[in-house]
Symmetry: C2
Subunit: 125 residues, 2 copies
DNA sequence: ATAGAATTTCGATAGATTTCGAAGTAAGGG
DNA sequence: CCCTTACTTCGAAATCTATCGAAATTCTAT
């Protein structure tokens, strides 16, 4: 077995995507394809209690509040996070179902492989 | 297990992303955050033999050859595909390592979680 | 060589995106 | 009530992106 045996694996590379699916997925991907929004998502998800208030998030960036608010809105419109006002502060939390959708798209289909065709190491990120 | 049992899970939501990691990942995500490029990736990966020639790809879209060429270049620059000229035609194939990187970012960590670590109500600061 | 087909590069344009400052809304405290 | 703090909406500027047509490049066949 040579390197040519590597077949790609992720669902996206298994079956040809329809145009409408592609448009829908691209919209979701655009929402995370920004350094600020990636960090926001990451900070919200990893925050104690699973939610973070906007004030915490804003302080972590060199950006103005309106800009952070804009990015949060993009994430929310994409269904990746949800926000709730409690008293003075607004708290955001991750909606895992949508995050999982992204994972499913690109995740290698490891399951059926009885032996590894070739060593492709999964980076721990 | 109810819906409330879903905890977020993906590596991106586990640990706060550094700015430089975020920039790097956003670059990769931008490359796939486009309907045309998603379909190109999908078509290349699902093509017989694991590779597709540009002519096949161009015919599947209502776009001009320069535009398809541009999108292929973006995918190639991101390390998602690689192309090789053989005779008259150029063939592209997927580089699974890079695709897997995306999968790893958002894939749910389903395996280790037997119970929820905490059930916190957000303490009123 | 010359011609022709496949693909990429170049230059231009229309549209989208990021960001800001200013103004608006909502909640809480004197 | 008014004032302050937290956040969002609005409108505008700068930058980036997708797309095209025209021209350059690379290879094959005559």
């Amino acid at each position: 077995m040579t390197a040519a045996t590597i077949q790609c694996c992720a669902p996206i590379a298994r079956e040809s995507l329809s145009e409408s699916d592609a448009v829908e997925l691209a919209t979701l991907l655009k929402a995370v394809a920004d350094p600020v929004r990636l960090r926001l998502l990451s900070m919200i998800g990893s925050h104690v209690g699973g939610e973070a208030c906007v004030c915490d998030l804003t302080d972590a960036f060199d950006l103005t509040a309106p800009t952070i608010s804009h990015h949060l809105k993009v994430l929310r419109s994409a269904g990746l996070i949800d926000g709730e006002r409690r008293g003075t502060w607004v708290y955001y939390r991750i909606l895992p179902e949508t995050v999982n959708k992204l994972g499913a798209l690109f995740a290698p289909l490891t399951e059926p492989a009885p032996h590894r065709p070739v060593e492709l190491e999964l980076p721990p990120v």
